[in-house]
Amino acid sequence: MRMSGSSKKVITFVLVVCVVAVMSIAAGCGGEEGEAKGPIKIGGTLPLTGPYAETGKWIEKGYRYWAEEINAKGGLLGRQVELIIYDDESNTDKGVSLLEKAITVDEVDLLLGGYPGTTAAAQMPVAEKYRMVYVSMGGHMPSFEQGYQYSFGGPPLMGQWWYEGFFQWLSTLPEEERPKKAAAITVNNVIGKACLEDIHKWVEELGIDLVVDEFYDLPLASADALVAKAKAAEADLFFANGLFDDGVLTVRSAMAQGYNPKAFVQGIGSIVPAWVEQLGEYGNYIFSGTAISNKLPYEGIEELNEVCRERYNVTAAPDYFLYGYCWLQTLQRGVEGAGTLDQDSIRDYLKSNTIKTIGGEFKFDEKGLPEPYSFCTQIQNGKVELVWPAEVRTADPVYPKPPWGS
């Protein structure tokens, strides 16, 4: 039987349509199948060499343990995760360019938070440009006040909240027991100024007279004159609002001068493990703050302590291991809650739901920040204890501070 010309054309057309349709379906199915089998790539940078390497490596360990744990549980959204971590050599510029590389060349699905605050603050606009969710410590309050929509501090390392726990506890004391005069010596940089904002806010609220309020530049050669000012002004609340080296000098100067305020509060320097390890008994009764701790009674913390004891021969999980783990846990909650890798959906989920992490429960606001908080710590018998809020307390605060060496 011979077909007419028009029949041939119809059949040819139908065949072409069928072939195209089958190919499209096959291609579509293949794509979905590949996606389902391929790992979710999570990328970013950390300072694995250079001055911030020691801390950066602990964050990396936290990240990698989180990935190992989630992969063992079947993955994220049913897919294995793969971390791509570039070494930014403790250099902010490299941190920015390598994050761009992770996004544009490696085409990562999700981002890792960077460290320290300067790098995180510089990476936040990059994440914003590519409209990708970025969970990190941030770079104190100004970095969260730029109108970014995709950045989250889960938890943040926020100077402006550093003494929240301490002052909240202080406000619970009867008024006659509270200090009357405060002295603050502050490192002249963005960290010191951020923490000082918290001091200014609270001393005004509690009616404490700030009798010494001085900045100093690094390196601090001697804290003697500053401590002498506080002693001469009879300040019974002292803030050594700085970092490690200057903090050690200040403590030693206060000891030598026999300056014994009712409360001695140290700034950021005291969250470095060396503060306790190296100062030992000399650092006793010093208050400080933190945004995360291995003594928190939250789910998952004790398991992480055990992992760190077994793998890294430490007594408990270091803070930055917990930060790294917690940032990825926050991201995980967003992804699982949204049920997709779509960045807008993850962002919207994180902004509209309370999420539970090893660092506590976070309800993020428009800036991507949880409610202002910090845990108040005090060194007792050479160990860091949590003294406020009451629900996480591991020891009662020692107040007023006993004289040095007693």
Binding site: I185, D217, D224, A225, A228, R252, Y282
Partner: protein
Amino acid sequence: MPTSFEIFQALASGLLLGGVYAILGVGFGLCWGVMKVINLSHSTFALLAVYIAYWMNVSLKIDPLVSLFVSTPLFFVCGIVIYRLLIGPLAKRAEELVAASMVLTFGLAILMENAMQWAWKPDPRVLNVSYTGKAFFISRVSIPYTAVIGFAIALVTTSCIYLFLKKTYLGMAVRAVWQNKEGAALCGVNIDRVSSITFGISLATAAAAGVCLSLIFSFNPSSHLGWLIYIFLVVIFGGVGSIPGVLLAGLLIGLITNISAVFIPNAWVNMILFGILATVLLLRPTGLLGQREAR
């Protein structure tokens, strides 16, 4: 208005700290004056002495002052070896020794910093001894034992260097090289030998400075960079190669920083310090007690 307690406390603290500045600068100034070598690794060697003191204290329970008897002779020998292997050959070849020595010793400093980072990790360290944070009091003014010990070591070291230069034959040879290298060579002074011994002495003073620093400051493998600023400051202020000048500059810088902090906000102290330094150099470019080089 500052109280008399604040003023006298600042005087005592400034004077004691000034001694430590002086001992940091004395060997560096000697090296610069005699050999025309700016040793940017000087403070790194001081830091190495700090780590040796720390290691001996933590591992062997030995007081850091005892480490002085280990690190000082060790660094003297190191100085001679480094001179023979690096500085000497460079001095013979380089057209501009000052600049070339800065590049070479900066490289050495970075190498040492990385080695210390590998050996002791980048973590900050603190050396605690039984007398840390303890002091005796004159009226209300506290005099910390660590600062007194540091000051005493500084005073003894600078005095020894001064007497060595003034009273010994070798010291006179060092001064001769410093004043006129060609003239000294013509008179039979072995420039190479004098230079290597000078470099050895210079590093031995860095070891002594390191022990003083270990008693007062916390440290990490990058701490040497901050100390280098003070080294330059005391040497330029006091006069390159002048031992009494460096001692005087150290004491003055200690006093200026501490006393000005009593009367003005601490954040302005560096402005005052560098303002005074600029004024002194404008009026006396060779520094307080420095002398013009013979040509």
